[in-house]
Every structure is written in C-alpha cells, then in structure tokens.
Amino acid sequence: MADDIRALSAQLAQDPQSLVFLRLGEALRRRGQLDAALRVAMNGLERHPHLADAHDLYARILTDKHDYERAFDEWDMAVRIAPNHTGALKGLAFLYFKVGDLAQAEAHLENARKVEPDDPSIDQAIAMMRRGVSPPAPTATAADSTTAASSTAGSPTAASSTAPAPPAGALDEARVFSGLEGANEGLLLIDGAGRVLGGALRDRAGSDVTDAVAAYLAGVSQEAARTAKLLGLGAWNGLSAEGQHGNVHLAHPTPEALLLVVRERGMPLGRLAILAQRATIMARRWLEKT
C-alpha cells in the first residue's frame, strides 16, 4: 500500500491536473492518514471544483474525521453536480440517519436504488433503517470486504464511492458498473473483437492497461465456448484464474461480449465470482439499453 501511495504521489507530481488525486486521497484515507488525504482532496477540488467524485472523496474523509456538517455540504454539492451519484446519495442517507431524519435517509436511499436497482447494500440499508438499526459510521477499511460493505449498508463507503476514479475519458464508460463494489476500476467489458465497451484497468503501478488487456482477451469467449463444447460440458459460465499478484474472473454477459473482473489476491475466487455475477447482470442490462 505504501508503494501504491508513493507511485500515486509520483504520478500526481508529474501531472498535477490529472484525476489521480482521487485514488491517492482514497488510498491515504484507507490507511487512516486523514490529514494527508484531506490535503490531497482539497488540492484536487481546487483544480476540479465541478467534479462530483472529488466532493464525494472530500466528504468521505470529513466523515472519517467526524466532521459531519461539512461532509453533508460536500455530498450535497456532489448530488447537485451529479444527481445520480450513488456514493453521495448513500452518504447523505447515512448522515440523515445519524441526525434521526429517517424519512430523508430513506428518500435518499430510494433515489440511489432507482439509479442502482441491483445494489443489494441499498436494500439492506433501507431494511436496517426500518428496523431502527443504525448502520455503522464509514470506516477507512469498510470497503475492503463484502461483509463490511453489506454491514455498513447506508454508509457511503459501501460501494462505488470507495473505488479509485478512472481517467477522465473513461468516466462515462465506467458508469456501466456504477454502484458496484470497486465500480471504477478492475472491471472491463469488451466485445468479441477486443474493443472496449466499458470499464477500465490499471496495473499495479497505476498505468492504464485497458487496451492491452482487451486485445489479449479478444477471442477468449469463443475459445472457451469451443473448449467446453468439445468436452461435452455445455455452455461455459465463467472462468476464474488465480494469479501471483491478483485474481481474475471472466464471464460473458452476451455471447459476444466478455466481462473481466480483476481484484487483488486477497479476494477469494468464490467472492470474485459473486462480484462478477453482479457485474454481468449490470453489463447485460447496459448492453440492452445501448
């Protein structure tokens, strides 16, 4: 992680206008280096005052510092800029719950659910609030596990808001998976010819490897189908692979399209398969709309 922070800091120093500050701020927040994270977020906001993700990051850091009033303002601003920003909607719901305004909390979660109807954490948060159970405050590590994500229900760290941001050009495409855990990175949707349809990938050094990976994966779907057919195994459902430094899962939302999910080695293949299943549903829906 320290290496990640060093690498991200170097990238930001090299290109202060880049959106890498979002990833650096989040990495620092997760490490609990809140003052450093705050400085990074504020500098980023000065350069990108109309970027909803920047306000969202700032709000999460402020929430970790228990500065709920300013966090509210930041999430409010994020929603004004991007009314469908689920991270900010969940953040506002969390804060409303904290002050006892259950109606507003639920209204914001309902809005988030309209944007991300497949996000189970929203349903869980609504159910918890109706039972009068307080979702725990966002923590720096909450987003690191599925268990934490579901238990923090209404917490803004539970889903997309914790994910590092994609490069500017990939923002719209990344919305294919908006609301999903780690939505903005490590998810890639390509067509049969290896063309990117959505998502983005970065390697461990933070370099964009989207196009290279997409090119290598072209034709994998057909090859997997041929192999399964030859073995008399019927249609293939997915391909999980364990790497030296990370795990991947491949699925095919449609016969031609291929979805790749990449996560760190710490995420077990079974959990990765569940995440891929959710992403597949979202990708299929997105492809149908497109």
Partner: protein, 115 residues
C-alpha cells in the same frame, strides 16, 4: 508422471487428467475416461492458457497459478507448472459437482512433482 495423474483422477467427480505441453498443446501424459478427445482438449487448453497468461500479465496480476473454466455440465481445471510459457499444464476435466478445492490441491501437487 502417471502417479501424479493417479492422485488427480482419484478425486470423486474427476473424469480425466492430462499433462500438456504449454507451448505446443501436445499431450505429454493422460488418464482420460472414454469419449474425451485428449488431443483436441490439450490444444484448446494450451491456447486458452496462453491468452489468459498474456492478459493476466498485462493486467498486472502476474502469471496464472490456477484457472478454472466453469460450464453447465462440468469444468476444466488447469495448473500451469514451471515456466508457464514453455512448461507443462496439468489439466483435469471434472463433473459440475466436483470438489474444486481438492482438485486444485492435487493439480498443484502434480505440477510440483512433474516440473
């Protein structure tokens, strides 16, 4: 080599196991149930392994240690042994309800013993 494959095929639900040359997709050793076309499966497994290796290296996850193709009526499980590019692939063909964890362990053991 046949001992290594024995341990894999003893796992309930495994229909066969093979050692395949990763570079050219040729069968090195096999213990397969009737009806499985070893040569063709080996060629496709090696080709798929090659694509996957290149994609995973590009994605920064390093070379694959184990991969698993899931299908409606079964699975193909593979452990690339040694240098994945020029080494041996240890391959198992299994029923859908096989204990994946156990097969994975036997494949990893086999890969250690044959490389």
């Amino acid at each position: 080599m046949s001992t290594a494959l024995d341990h894999i095929t003893r796992v309930r639900g495994v229909r066969g196991a093979m050692l395949v040359s990763a570079e050219d997709g040729i069968v090195v050793a096999e213990q397969l149930m009737e009806g499985i076309k070893g040569g063709a499966v080996a060629a496709l497994a090696a080709s798929l392994a090659g694509r996957l290796r290149r994609a995973m290296e590009a994605a920064g996850t390093g070379t694959s240690v184990f991969w698993h193709l899931q299908a409606e009526q079964g699975a193909l499980l593979v452990v690339p042994g040694g240098n994945a590019q020029g080494g041996i692939l240890v391959v198992a063909v299994a029923e859908p309800d096989v204990n994946i964890g156990l097969v994975r362990l036997e494949l990893l053991r086999a890969a250690e013993s044959v490389v």
